[in-house]
């Protein structure tokens, strides 16, 4: 990996920080955006200590779509040319937490879909203006199919996956890569210490992501086994799928 200029939205997320650590070792330059100022400052200190050449921070509630242009302007001003833009913010609410609450369901959509799509679109345009770069969006295997246990989150991730696919088509001829990351369950604070099937560590997933960015891949299932699992999942007829306890 050569020295890169990297924008990270949702920089306090464990997966984003995991990827950033790998680039910090190679003296990358970072523009970090997150909501919690104290936590973001700790992440910034960590990346500096690990060898980052430059780290700046920007505090914003990412649900506030009105500020998204400001975020893009900050990143462009701070880094000049952006090599990689990572969209990593997210909110995991389990279905039973929001089953009887339409507002909470839409809230899940706002953070995971609207805000993600808004930023993907705006950063896409900025990369188009500079004529280079990679856009990385964190989606999820949960977006492949609606499941009774996690469908609001899944539907939002599904929207992100489809949107990023389309963007990839749009930017492919311009030499700008769009990478959709679909992790399975990862042992992060987001999964709240539960043990889930095929659970991966942040380190494994972060390494896969950095590798996919370098190789300019289009879609990354991480760990790789999920590519196969999802082929099977997608093939199960709906009537059977919705009766399975998964």
């Amino acid at each position: 990996m050569s020295t890169k200029s990297i924008v990270i939205i949702g920089a306090t997320s464990a997966i984003a920080h995991g990827v950033a650590k790998l680039y910090a070792r190679d003296h990358a330059r970072f523009a970090l955006v997150a909501r919690n100022a104290a936590n973001l400052e700790v992440v910034a200190q960590d990346l500096r200590a690990r060898g980052a050449e430059h780290v700046s921070t920007f505090i914003a509630d990412l649900k506030d779509v009105a500020r998204h242009d400001e975020i893009v302007a900050y990143a462009v001003r701070d880094l000049g040319t952006m090599d990689v833009v990572i969209l990593a913010h997210g909110l995991l609410k389990e279905q039973h937490e929001i089953d009887n609450n339409a507002d909470a369901t839409l809230d899940v959509f706002e953070v995971n879909a609207n805000s993600m799509i808004s930023l993907a679109h705006r950063f896409g345009c900025a990369l188009e203006r500079q004529g280079s770069g990679s856009l990385v969006g964190l989606s999820s295997v949960a977006g492949e199919r609606g499941r009774r246990a996690l469908y609001a989150y899944g539907a939002a991730k599904s929207a992100v996956t489809a949107f990023l696919s389309g963007m990839r088509g749009r930017y492919l001829p311009l030499g700008i890569n769009v990478l959709t990351v679909k992790p399975g369950p990862v042992d992060t604070p987001m999964t709240k210490g539960r043990t889930l099937p095929l659970m991966a560590t942040v380190d494994t997933v972060a390494k896969d992501i950095a590798n996919a960015i370098e190789k300019r891949k289009h879609v990354l299932y991480t760990p790789g086994i999920w590519r196969i699992v999802m082929v099977v999942m997608r093939a199960i007829p709906e009537g059977i799928f919705q009766r399975l306890k998964i």
């Binding site: 306090t12 464990a14 070792r25 919690n36 104290a38 936590n39 700790v42 992440v43 200190q45 960590d46 500096r48 200590a49 690990r50 060898g51 604070p189 210490g193 043990t195």
Partner: protein, 458 residues
């Protein structure tokens, strides 16, 4: 643990109902414990809130201590592994400050390429900085540099009343000395600042020399300690007669030439033990066979080679979860130190006691501790010879033999290491630590551990 196979007296599993099982174990996997909560805060605010929630709590790092010093049966643990950001690292002076959940493994991945190494390392790199302070860990270079605590410039302690205290050798000295080796009982260590050691290469000049008896092991160690930064010996505690304590001395020092190896990436563990081993896997005959093989695999008297940091310091880290080989009943480790005066004779009595109880130990380790004193009140190392043994948990026979070993060690003016212990008599333990009274005054009223309660109830 499987209580059907072992006398219940040696099984400390609690029977408190309605507990959250969190699958947290110590490295020996004995005793087992159940915790009411085992949250893993990532941010300072979460940590502070978590500490406020519980009446009895204990910080838990990576669970590499062997017995119950890291457990808090029937109460709460605060798992620290996510609280692991590096706060600053000065590449010119080698001063690093990090949140206490940072592992030595992760720290090395950052500092080694910059030409620095941990001043002291235990036999595994999967320990947190907080755990290294709380157990005041030592390494193969104790005779040169003392314990981990000797290299701590400062740390911050979060007490259960919500107050924070920055402790250094001169500021809040009482808490500083009580927390180093304080087994997590003085509060939660939030960050640690240490002075690293400069290195020019990842490679270590290593020599291994065969010794035909324990006396020869000690003589070789004494002859090596001046010129070699790292010395340790593997001894065969199952050999008897004149060969008692025969073994192999390993001595090493970092290559002093810049050879470009610092930038090499760290290797990852290749294998992991996925399931518990059957109970016969590590039993007397197999261990005897292994020890014989280990001694004879080196054909000549002396071997010289250049080795990487990983095989030299962390040979067992190459196999993930190797502790599972000992099966469901778990294993016990025993580590004692006895003064140099009559040290060899005392150590021989300890080994004979174990042989009498037909206790099998896989790779016993002997090391001579130096005279550098740790600031820690409850720090284990003191000048003398230390012996470490790993043993399958074979129940009463083993516990009785270890009780007799404690007696010999105590009579000689030695100590047993809490981080390895799962069974010592409380009064016996307290009698080994002369600063115990002073230490007790600094304990946080809401911090406790299975170990500490056991010490005070036996």
């Amino acid at each position: 643990m499987d209580c059907r196979r072992v006398d219940r007296r040696y099984c400390y599993r609690s029977n408190v109902g309605a507990l959250v099982s969190s699958n947290v174990t110590s490295w020996g996997r004995f005793p087992q414990a159940e915790h009411t909560s085992a949250a893993a805060p990532e941010w300072r605010e979460q940590l502070i809130n978590e500490v406020k929630k519980h009446d009895s709590l204990l910080a838990f790092g990576l669970g590499r201590s062997y017995g119950d010093v890291c457990l808090n049966d029937g109460a709460a643990l605060v798992r620290m592994h996510r609280y692991s950001h590096i706060l600053s690292f000065d590449r010119t002076t080698g001063v690093l400050r990090a949140e206490s959940g940072l592992s030595i493994a992760e720290m090395l991945s950052v500092v080694v390429p910059a030409g620095w190494f941990t001043p002291v390392t235990p036999g595994t790199k999967f320990v947190t900085l907080g755990g290294a302070v709380a157990n005041d860990v030592h390494g193969k270079n104790h005779h040169k540099v003392g314990t981990f605590g000797c290299h701590v410039r400062a740390f911050e302690l979060l007490r259960s009343d919500g107050t924070t205290h920055v402790c250094t050798p001169t500021q809040n000295q009482g808490l500083f000395r009580a927390t180093i080796g304080g087994m997590g009982l003085t509060g939660i260590i939030t960050w640690v600042e240490i002075q690293l050691t400069p290195i020019a290469s990842r490679m270590i000049e290593e020599q291994s020399i065969k010794a035909r008896s324990l006396q020869e092991v000690v003589d070789l160690t004494e002859a090596s300690d001046a010129d070699w930064d790292y010395t340790v010996s593997w001894v065969d505690v199952m050999a008897s007669g004149a060969a008692l304590g025969k073994g192999i001395l390993l001595r090493g020092r970092f290559a002093s030439q810049h050879d470009g190896t610092l930038a090499k990436p760290h290797p990852r563990p290749l294998l992991s033990v996925p399931v518990d081993g059957p109970h016969w896997l590590l039993s007397n005959p197999t261990i005897r066979l292994f020890n014989t093989f280990w001694y004879h695999k080196q054909l000549g008297r002396e071997h010289h080679r250049m080795v990487d940091i990983e095989p030299f310091f962390y040979p067992l880290d190459a196999v993930g979860s190797w502790n599972r080989l000992y099966g469901k009943r778990g294993m016990l480790q025993y580590q004692c130190v006895v003064p140099m005066q009559d040290g060899v004779a005392t150590m021989k009595s300890v080994i004979r006691e174990l042989q009498k109880g037909s206790v099998a130990s896989f790779l016993a380790v002997v090391k001579k501790f130096g005279t550098i004193e740790s600031p820690g009140l409850m720090s284990f190392p003191k000048p003398g010879l230390t012996l470490t043994l790993d043993m399958p948990n074979s129940g009463k026979k083993l516990f009785d033999a270890l009780d007799r070993c404690d007696e010999i060690v105590a009579a000689a003016g030695g100590r047993v290491y809490a981080a390895k212990d799962a069974r010592i008599n409380g009064q016996r333990f307290i009698g080994m630590y002369e600063h115990y009274r002073e230490f007790v005054d600094h304990i946080d009223p809401r911090c406790s551990s299975s170990f500490w309660r056991r010490i005070h109830n036996s």
